[in-house]
């Protein structure tokens, strides 16, 4: 069997490091030994695939999970999942979770004094379509305090989990909102050294998907690792056939 066409490695500064002392929880959890670099085998270039049949019912409208609508500003979050080569990533599972409009998660661990919303779970999922597009209807999450440092507040964000075509392409990230004054104080957002990459986490306000009298649109495109264009070189310097 020929060597698989591998997924590209990230450029320096475009992904966070494990140890980032400004993020206090990383200190006792980041690995201390160097990672072992390895080539890609069949195990890395394959990965779990999902279909609509894996879920009961639709999960892309977080405002319609109860008999009444949740409180807060209704928004539409949509975009494309694509790879570094610009190719769409179709039929891939996206899971989202978020705080409610008051900045509170429906979770035992969240002890923030802001109220829960009986009509909002903050949980959604969808599959990208054949062109790699996705769309959620939700409410804008609130900011909330945390214990990382004195007067620490998280900027409003939505968590995204994306599987992509392969184990190597798996990504969990967070989407932020444009113009949020908390972004410049947030150690998680600022853990990415390269500004252009960091700014990729900020959604773009989008008139085109805004629905008059109904909901504002935000666009968030997600770029997963792409394949190298050519097979890996053999040690002898000869190229393998595809």
């Amino acid at each position: 069997m020929s060597a698989p066409i591998r997924y590209r490695r990230p450029l320096p500064g475009t992904q966070p490091e494990y140890l980032y002392p400004n993020y206090a929880s990383s200190i006792k959890r980041a690995p201390t030994q160097p990672l072992v670099s390895m080539p890609h085998t069949l195990s890395e270039i394959t990965g779990p695939q999902f279909t609509e049949e894996d879920f009961k019912g639709s999960g892309c409208d977080l405002t319609q999970q109860s008999s009444a609508e949740p409180l807060g500003e209704r928004i539409i979050v949509s975009g494309n999942v694509l790879d570094e080569n610009g190719r769409p990533v179709p039929h891939t599972l996206i899971e989202v979770w978020q705080a409610n409009a008051a900045g509170r998660y429906l979770h035992d661990v969240d002890q923030h004094s802001a109220p829960l919303d009986p009509n909002f779970t903050g949980c959604g999922h969808t599959l990208t379509d054949a062109q790699g597009r996705y769309r959620f209807v939700t409410i804008k999450p609130g900011s909330y305090p945390w214990h990382n440092h004195h007067n620490a507040w998280r900027p409003a964000h939505i968590h995204f989990s994306v599987f992509g075509p392969a184990f190597a392409a798996r990504l969990i990230t967070q989407m932020y909102f444009p113009g949020d004054p908390l972004l410049s104080y947030d150690p998680l957002f600022n853990s990415i050294a390269d500004k252009k990459s960091r700014d990729r986490l900020i959604s773009v306000f989008d008139w085109d998907t805004t629905i008059p009298q109904t909901a504002l649109g935000y666009r968030f495109d997600i770029v997963l690792r792409g394949r190298e264009e050519t097979p890996m070189e053999e040690p002898s310097g000869k190229r393998r056939k595809k």
Binding site: Y7, T121, C123
Partner: protein, 187 residues
């Protein structure tokens, strides 16, 4: 175009990820040796991590992945996706039941020893950790092309231990820091 940066899964991932929790990967009809895997996730102070999420990706018992790019002429197992996911409990424990995977091809002509692909997410990790779990007493471990990239004294961290008199009950811990630190891969 550069990739979207990773961000931590945070402490509240259960909200979004619980729908696809799969701690039992293989129903009774799936062929292969049925196994259990139990373990602990421990931080740099050897304290249990109660908010980690662990995902598995594995081949079926004949060594074939449920994926289009696996073109091997081997038996597929329609009822076996090969995906597992669970969260650690209050005491940092996790548990999976699955089947032992077969061998899959390595690079060039080599064969990989049976292994599970592991992703580890948690608060405090800005991006996932990637590891592999191998099986004890497996003769192909010594020739596995990935295990052979690892310093021999650290290789043991990747090989599960079988419980006494019960080879189907495996134990494998994730040690995040220190002397016994689990080997993590840069893929």
């Amino acid at each position: 175009m550069t990739t979207t940066p990773s961000q931590t899964v945070g402490p509240f991932f259960h909200i979004g990820c619980n729908k696809m929790m799969v701690s039992n990967l293989a129903g009774p009809n799936v062929s292969g040796t049925h196994i259990t895997i139990e373990g602990l996730v421990l931080d740099g102070d050897k304290n249990p991590v109660p908010d980690a999420m662990i995902e598995i990706w594995q081949a079926n018992s004949s060594g074939k992945y449920a994926h289009l790019e696996d073109e091997q002429d081997k038996l597929s197992a329609p009822e076996f996706r090969g995906f597992g996911r669970t969260a650690t409990d209050q005491n940092g424990r996790f548990r999976f039941t699955t089947i032992k995977p077969g061998s899959v091809p390595g690079l060039e002509v080599s064969i990989q020893a049976p292994h599970l692909m592991i992703s580890i997410f948690m608060r405090g990790l800005m991006k996932r950790l990637v590891s592999r779990m191998y099986f004890p007493g497996e003769s192909t471990n010594t020739s596995d092309p990935v295990l052979n990239l690892v310093d021999p004294i650290r290789r043991e961290t990747l090989i599960a231990r079988a419980k006494e008199n019960s080879p189907e009950s495996l134990h494998w811990d994730v040690i995040l820091q220190g002397k016994d630190e689990t080997v993590f891969f840069d893929i």
